[in-house]
Amino acid sequence: MVHQHFMLVPVFTVAENVVLGFEPTKSFNRLDYKTADAQIHELSEKFGLQVDPRAVVENLPIGLQQRVEILKALSHDAELLILDEPTAVLTPQEIDALMEIMRSLARDGKSILFITHKLKEVRAVADVITIIRQGRVIDSVPPSETENQLAALMVGREVNLTVNKESTELGEPVLEIRDVVVRDDRGLAVVNGVTLDVHAGEIVALAGVQGNGQTELAEAISGLRPIESGTITLRGRDITNHSPRAILDAGLGHVPEDRQRDGLVLSMSVADNLVLNTPRRAPFASRGTRNLKAVSVNATDLVQRFDIRTTGIDATAGSLSGGNQQKVIVARELSRPLTCLLASQPTRGLDVGSIEYVHRQIVNERNQGMGVFIISSELDEVVALGDRIAVMHAGKITGIVDPSTSREDIGLLMAGSTMGAHD
């Protein structure tokens, strides 16, 4: 089993991690590092997975860490390898390498169960594709099926996978980010001098492998994380280091990356969640007293308009599916007057049907002249939505490119190469 979130000890070496739990020992229970290293070498040779046994895991790039996870599984003579969403943290090049490894393992007679929601990847590597929906096996099909057919099986109806966008007039810049530096909880400058503009009527999509500072940048824009230097303005108004309240009131819509952590109160009703960041605004309250009637009128309206599937506006947000939880947040943000919408990983973990829906809403807002800033680690989403694509690596923007740019080139930018000189 290779978990989506790695189960490695960051401060241990590769060899120590692989033998963990099955350590070869010498007399008096001393660890036998020599044998351990030899085991790793042997495994690496056998499966063509090159990695230095003495390297400390936390210093390795994510792609190599994943390789260590796979080695760990193979070292136990696993015949069946389960890979749970292994590509979420990889660059396109690393994904290609992983696919190659999977093919070669399959040739050696191993079975691989590859769990993913990315249709391109399954079609590229699988021998049989099994679709499950709501805990049931829907069908098993050969990889020759088209993406649209797979998507239809996943959702249970026909889905339109391409996003239709008309071109719009580019307006004034609404969100201006200038030389912003932000530190993470460990004190590292994970956003290191980012400059970016979002204009009214355009979607700027920020691509990048997870953990390259995108999360911290979003937190900084929404006021949740202090900005060390640089400025952020919203339609000319300085919002640098303002409180989240002030920034929300200035007209920033925020769809947070982790909806259950930052976006919703799961134990509260859908109606309350729909006014979570506007509880004091008329008509939802006046002079410190909430107007529950207005709250429920608002909820009934939004539930209908945004097609939120719920048993009622009094049902708790926690009782909704992930897609409908996301719709609650999108509905809440889009129902108040906005200058700019900031959406982090807006479709993470959603089924194909909900993705289609959320994308359509975002494009609608852009068509109506709102500036939209999308942060996503899904290259497909970035390419489908973005009018311009900014790529972030190690806290810096490595390039701003047109959506027609090849995936290989975007992939290189994601890996840190600044050769994206096309723009």
């Binding site: 989506q4 989240p244 309240r245 002030a246 925020h254 089924d351």
Partner: protein, 423 residues
């Protein structure tokens, strides 16, 4: 591999099962079942500790034919104890019938219920204060200290300022609130600005308040004139919560119950309808979402300590104004620590004002009835404490109580697979 799978699968599933158990049975049923169980276990304890019962069984061990009479002795002593407890805390039916038929003796008839209400009055107020803090995710363990300071402030204003009732009474109540609020403000500020953990600060503050009480009663003008002991001045008759039925009736139940009732109503309104209460609940349920929604966490921490401390202080003031009309060195110290009992009651009442009200009445009845039982049967008051503890224990562990009563069939033990981060 399978090991890891089942490991990760059981953990969330047992937590989930616990939660589904916990949330499904109605809290009222649960509390009643817990109460019954408390009395059953109390009965067993009476049987195995009462000297009369033990004597009778010793006798039976020599004459086997007397089992029947020993059983009778056992049940008689339990029945006598519980009869004393109920008649001593609520109403004695024979006295009631007597009063109805003759029209006399109402004072004696109503004394038990009057005592229970008197005892419950400050408990309701303090417990609601604690409950509101808990709902906000703030563990205010310092309600007792805050009540003591409230009592001191109330006594000071009640005894040293002289004015008509219409001003003096509300002023004294406000002094109690202010005293408790100031005492709560300190841990609130410390938590908001330094991150000091409120449990430790408030817990320690209880000792500070105890010490301050002794200081105030021996070293300041609050000490009664010509008095060497730690005894305060008496508050003016314009600053007391007088007995409802007049001082001659002997029934102690005072206008304090209207203060408690007002607190219940206000608390319901506050939590359900006020914007500030909504902020409190969001913060308690999901502090991250609260911050992202623009709620200022520092403000909420300080505000909740003012509200919670203010209510605790009011409880201390009401306790003094409705019973003794002065305070001494033992005020709210030891068994009389209403601020500590308030923590238990807040949990018993599931942090909801109505639940807390019933919980306070239950605790008061058990205490008042326990004293009557001790007087009538010689069974110590500690039995009432044991029953209280058992009730709280079983309310706090609903899974156990449901297993005991088999509210749900064992078929419920299905395993739920792990849920990914997705939905």
């Amino acid at each position: 591999m399978t090991d890891t799978l089942t490991d990760t699968a059981t953990k969330p599933s047992s937590a989930r099962r616990f939660w589904s158990h916990y949330s499904s049975t109605s809290p009222i049923t649960l509390t009643i079942l817990a109460l019954i169980l408390g009395f059953v276990i109390g009965a067993i304890i009476i049987m195995v500790t009462s000297p009369a019962v033990l004597d009778s069984w010793r006798h039976t061990s020599h004459h086997l034919g007397d089992i029947g009479s020993s059983l009778k002795v056992s049940f008689d002593s339990v029945a006598a104890a519980y009869r004393a407890m109920i008649t001593g805390s609520i109403l004695d039916p024979t006295l009631f019938v007597h009063s109805i038929s003759t029209g006399h003796g109402w004072d004696t008839t109503l004394t038990p219920i009057s005592e229970t209400l008197t005892y419950a009055t400050p408990l309701v107020i303090a417990s609601i204060g604690v409950g509101i803090a808990f709902q906000t995710g703030i563990f205010n363990i310092g309600a007792n200290g805050q009540a003591i300071i409230g009592g001191i402030a109330g006594t000071a204003v009640g005894s040293m300022i002289h004015c008509p009732t219409i001003i003096h009474l509300p002023l004294t109540l406000l002094a109690g609130i202010a005293g408790g609020a100031v005492c709560g403000l300190v841990p609130g500020l410390l938590k908001a600005y330094t991150g000091a953990h409120e449990v430790i600060v408030t817990l320690m503050f209880n000792y500070v308040c105890n010490a301050f009480l002794l200081y105030a009663l021996t070293e300041t003008a609050l000490q009664a004139p010509n008095q060497a002991n730690d005894l305060s001045r008496n508050v003016d008759s314009t600053a007391i919560l007088a007995p409802i039925f007049g001082t001659k009736s002997g029934l102690r139940v005072s206008y304090g119950i209207f203060v408690a009732a007002a607190v219940v109503v206000l608390a319901i309104w506050f939590l359900k309808r006020s914007s500030l209460g909504f902020d409190f609940r969001i913060t308690g349920a999901n502090p991250n979402a609260a911050r992202a929604s623009g709620i200022n966490p520092k403000f909420v921490v300080i505000a909740v300590f003012l509200v919670s401390g203010g209510l605790a202080g009011l409880a201390g003031g009401v306790q003094m104004m409705s019973t003794t009309h002065y305070i001494d060195g033992g005020f709210l110290i030891g068994n009389a620590g209403i601020g500590f009992t308030a923590i238990t009651i807040a949990l018993l009442g599931r942090l909801q004002p109505m639940g807390i009200m019933w919980g306070s009445l239950l605790f008061a009845a058990l205490n008042v009835g326990g004293r009557a039982m001790q007087a009538a049967t010689g069974i110590p008051l500690d039995l009432a404490t044991i029953i209280q503890s058992i009730v709280v224990l079983f309310v706090a562990s609903p899974v156990l109580i449901k297993e005991i009563y088999r509210l749900r069939s064992g078929a419920e033990s299905f395993q739920m697979a792990t849920k990914g981060w997705s939905s």
